[in-house]
């Protein structure tokens, strides 16, 4: 069905290849930049990935002015202010974010502070509030799941008010996304499985949520097909270059899809699991995906049924609801398979959630922004019911 109105926007140049990082200095030249501020975390530095980036600059007239390796799991307003000051002190002219979602969010947050000339980032939360053009940012993801390299969202933790602030703006898209298979080689199997299932959740929710549209459907389909082909391979053998690059592409495609189509109840519940019980985002999505899909069958059986074909299931002779249950079963099979290889939990109780926390999670989930885009209404009681099933 064609929606009577939708929007699609993705201004990110994409470089994908086994040595794609080598092209960063050239891209900086195109962007008119000379001194890059690398934003990353200690894990990425310890894994030796920043050395790969440094090597790319060795024969170039562009330079890495500074490496900021303090990006925490949840980026904070204090940290982005600190980074913004460092950026100006070092006379940098672009951000080079190397890492997972938090490193990219930290760079996006500092970019907002610098470009808007404020140290009160809180005043800019909301959607499309940022009015000034941001400085160029090049994103090099080191996990295949968040899709942050092609999304227009940044989440920054407000330390004073103890809340997460969401910033949504078309200006937050990085200018270049660099997918290099070497950058994800060192990710352990469990994290590979969790982030891969995260990407699958992005694609499936983008394909089934209220902002679903023909352009993002194409990206979501392509992402799901790549995940079907490469996720198990990447979890089984982290050194499989083709699988790693395939998953990096799947994550990016899913990122483009959900940045425009948005996500729904599965993400809302996963965000709440993270907030209340500190369950890693990818892990929470992986556990909740089949349950969320099953819940939504009542409203959109056809879209969920269509997903089964992308996961390799038969698409013939079945009623929509029956076929949709095939999708749920295929997702459970995939989750079970990567879980057996990597030890990824398949139940919330195994992911650090205790039963007494379920009401608090349900309460937080119904206030999550993602819930607005879910195709079926979810009340507190219904959210709690889904959580109990996943528990």
């Amino acid at each position: 069905m064609i929606p009577h109105y939708y929007q699609h926007f993705c201004p990110v140049k994409i470089l994908s290849g086994h040595n794609a990082v080598s092209n960063i200095p050239y891209e900086m030249d195109i962007l008119g930049c000379r001194r890059a501020m690398v934003v990353t975390d200690k894990g990425v530095v310890d894994a030796g990935l920043i050395n790969l980036v440094r090597e790319a600059f060795a024969d170039s007239d562009k330079e890495i002015a500074c490496v900021f390796d303090e990006a925490p799991p949840d980026s904070s307003n204090r940290l982005v202010n600190k980074l913004a000051k460092l950026f100006e002190k070092e006379k940098c002219d672009c951000f080079l974010a190397v890492g997972g979602g938090s490193a990219l969010d930290t760079a996006k947050g500092a970019n907002i502070v610098i470009s808007e000339g404020t140290d009160d980032i809180l005043s800019l939360q909301g959607n499309e509030i940022i009015k000034k053009a941001l400085l160029p940012m090049i994103a090099v993801p080191t996990t295949s799941g968040t899709g942050s390299e092609v999304t227009k969202v940044a989440v920054i933790y407000n330390e004073e008010k103890n809340v997460k602030m969401a910033f949504v703006s078309d200006r937050l898209y990085p200018r270049v996304a660099v997918l290099d298979s070497r950058m994800t080689m060192t990710v352990p199997p469990k994290l590979t499985a969790a982030t891969g299932m995260d990407a699958l959740t992005h694609a499936m929710e983008a394909y089934t949520c209220l902002q679903k549209n023909p352009i993002d459907d194409v990206f979501a389909r392509a992402a799901i097909e790549l995940i079907r082909k490469y996720l198990v391979r990447a979890v089984e053998n982290g050194r499989d270059e083709e699988a790693r690059l395939g998953m990096a592409n799947a994550s990016l495609l899913a990122g483009i899809a959900f940045s425009n189509s948005m996500v729904g109840m599965i993400h809302a519940l996963a965000h709440a699991c993270g907030g209340v019980c500190h369950v890693p985002h990818g892990m929470a999505n992986a556990i909740l995906l089949p349950h969320g899909l099953e819940y939504n069958i009542s409203g959109i059986p056809r879209y969920i049924a269509e997903l089964s074909g992308m996961l390799g299931g038969s698409i013939e002779y079945m009623e929509e609801k029956e076929q949709a249950m095939v999708t749920v079963s295929l997702v459970k099979n995939l989750l079970g398979r990567v879980s057996r290889i990597s030890g990824l939990p398949v139940r919330l109780r195994d992911a650090g959630v205790t039963e007494d926390k379920l009401p608090a999670i349900a309460s937080a989930a119904i206030n999550d922004g993602a819930m607005a885009f879910n195709p079926v209404e979810v009340s507190y009681d219904e959210a709690l019911e889904v959580l109990k099933k996943a528990y």
């Binding site: 909301g126 209220l210 119904i366 206030n367 819930m371 009340s379």
Partner: protein, 188 residues
């Protein structure tokens, strides 16, 4: 017949000053519906327990506005005690601002052609402020709609229309009875 109608519409549209006239009509329509919607929050708050339960956890003094960009009409509301007060037209230092991008988008929602969730999904509403609190406000807007609009329209614009019990019908009747006096009170 259709072609005659289309030709007539095309002629009207080509009249000098038509775009300004049309914008003026849209402004009046939006302004009028918002003038009813503001007091409706107060009336629904008085008669519908779900409404009061929903705002129970809100911080005292939360102010939010609904309006139309760039310079269209707007209303501001505030949580006080166990209900929401209509502060009147215009932006009055709201903590959260929900603005339709243009009159066409506003009219789709205000004339109940489309639900607010669909308007969010179609990027028709801009939000300034805390997005989690916006979700809470959106749920309250849905409760107001459910108690203000006829059943058929409610089914169309809400993702999860409430099941109507005898008590709900009684509450809806009280809302209808109280709405006109509330609107008049704010007008004078």
């Amino acid at each position: 017949m259709d072609s005659v109608l289309n030709r007539t519409v095309a002629r009207i549209r080509s009249l000098p000053g038509f775009p300004d006239f049309q914008a003026g009509v849209k402004h009046v329509l939006c302004s009028t519906v918002l003038s009813v919607l503001g007091p409706a929050f107060e009336v629904v708050g008085r008669h519908v327990p779900e409404f009061r339960k929903e705002i129970e956890s809100w911080e005292e003094g939360r102010r939010f506005s609904l309006g139309v960009l760039p310079k269209g009409p707007a209303i501001t509301l505030e949580k006080r005690g166990n209900t929401i007060h209509y502060l009147g037209k215009g932006l009055r230092s709201p903590h959260i601002t929900m603005s339709f991008k243009n009159y066409d988008s506003a009219l789709l929602v205000l004339m109940s052609v489309m639900g607010s969730h669909q308007a969010f999904a179609e990027n028709r509403i801009l939000v300034e402020g805390d997005l989690a609190k916006t979700m809470e406000i959106n749920r309250v807007v849905n409760i107001v709609n459910a108690n203000l609009l006829p059943g058929m329209v409610v089914k169309k614009v809400l993702k999860g229309p409430p099941k109507m019990t005898l008590k709900n019908y009684v509450n809806k009747g009280k809302v209808y009875a109280g709405l006109v006096p509330a609107v008049v009170r704010h007008l004078i």
